[in-house]
Symmetry: C2
Subunit: 198 residues, 2 copies
């Protein structure tokens, strides 16, 4: 099957982004050269420079693309399906976490990337919030007023635990992340009940 000019370029761009994602996770944004990215994608540096201004623009585009992909994959899914989707991605969590962390560090030094990352994180927090709301509803409990803050906490806790697990896998079990969030919910409910009793 033959591809039109624009289709072909879109393919090239996609492959470059894919390769960049892998290499950034492996060696860091600074550690991956334009040459290496192009080579892994199966092109020369010429292809890179005719698709992106420079590496900074690629980083923005990569984050944009991942955010959009996440939106589309999760959008409209039930809570169970979102969790299943998360688990399926858990195989290469460390790689995914490394990439996200690389992008986070990069964002500290680049306002454009920071804004992009902020969008992604807000989306993720929102997904957490909806999930938590469902958990409370199922427990027959009114979702707390500060559920937004709770969502930030749950999200931050997940990341933090994944980081800890990467350093000391023997101290942080695989299920620790799931356990911790569940425990968090249960204790939150208990606190709510206690306050209600006065």
């Amino acid at each position: 099957m033959r591809l039109s000019r624009v289709e072909k370029q879109a393919q090239t761009r996609g492959r470059l982004l894919e390769a960049a994602g892998e290499l950034f996770a492996e060696r860091g944004v600074n550690g991956a050269s334009v040459e290496q990215i192009a080579e892994r994608a199966g092109y020369s540096r010429g292809a890179f420079y005719s698709n992106f201004e420079d590496k900074a623009e690629l980083v923005v585009a990569l984050l944009q693309e991942r955010t959009r992909r996440e939106h589309n994959e999760v959008k409209g899914l039930s809570w169970e399906r979102v969790r299943a989707w998360n688990r399926s991605r858990a195989r290469n969590v460390t790689e995914w976490l490394a990439l996200r962390t690389e992008l986070w560090l990069y964002s500290l030094r680049d306002g454009r990337v920071r804004r992009q990352l902020a969008e992604r994180e807000r989306f993720s927090r929102n997904a957490h919030q909806q999930g938590l709301a469902e958990v409370f509803r199922r427990a027959g409990v009114q979702p707390p007023a500060d559920i937004e803050f709770l969502a930030v906490i749950a999200h931050a806790l997940e990341d933090g635990l994944l980081i800890q697990r990467a350093i000391t896998p023997e101290d942080v079990r695989d299920e620790a992340v799931v356990d911790a969030v569940e425990l968090l919910c249960r204790s939150w409910i208990a606190l709510g009940e206690k306050q209600k009793r006065g």
Copy 2:
């Protein structure tokens, strides 16, 4: 005052480590060259290479030095004083967090650094555990059996929230980190009481 040979070298080494810490936080481990590190410390690259094998060794040494310093500064301090010490360091949290994150990423790719970082994190978790134990004691509550897990959670939560705050300062207040841990403790206690009641 004149310095002996060994004193002078120790000074040089110290300054190089100091400069490396700053530059790693600013531009990342990969983004900071040996030349830049030496220059900021006020030396030439010769000084660097007569103190360290290469950058990898410097990273290990830096982490070692920071861990040791932390040990010494916190060792024997009361819980209040530890919190005060944390707050005093909070001025440049982002820089400190960036450095730690850089080292975390580096550790993913270097076993030696990972072991070093694991030691640091265990120490930090332990400090958390002692702090939490004191909080429970003051609340007149028996510290829970799973306090070790709770300490990991508190530690991970702090890091995770700092990361979130760096991305979206407007969504995560300054006090959020302290608030979250406090809230965590209170809800944990409530859960314990609930379980006791059956």
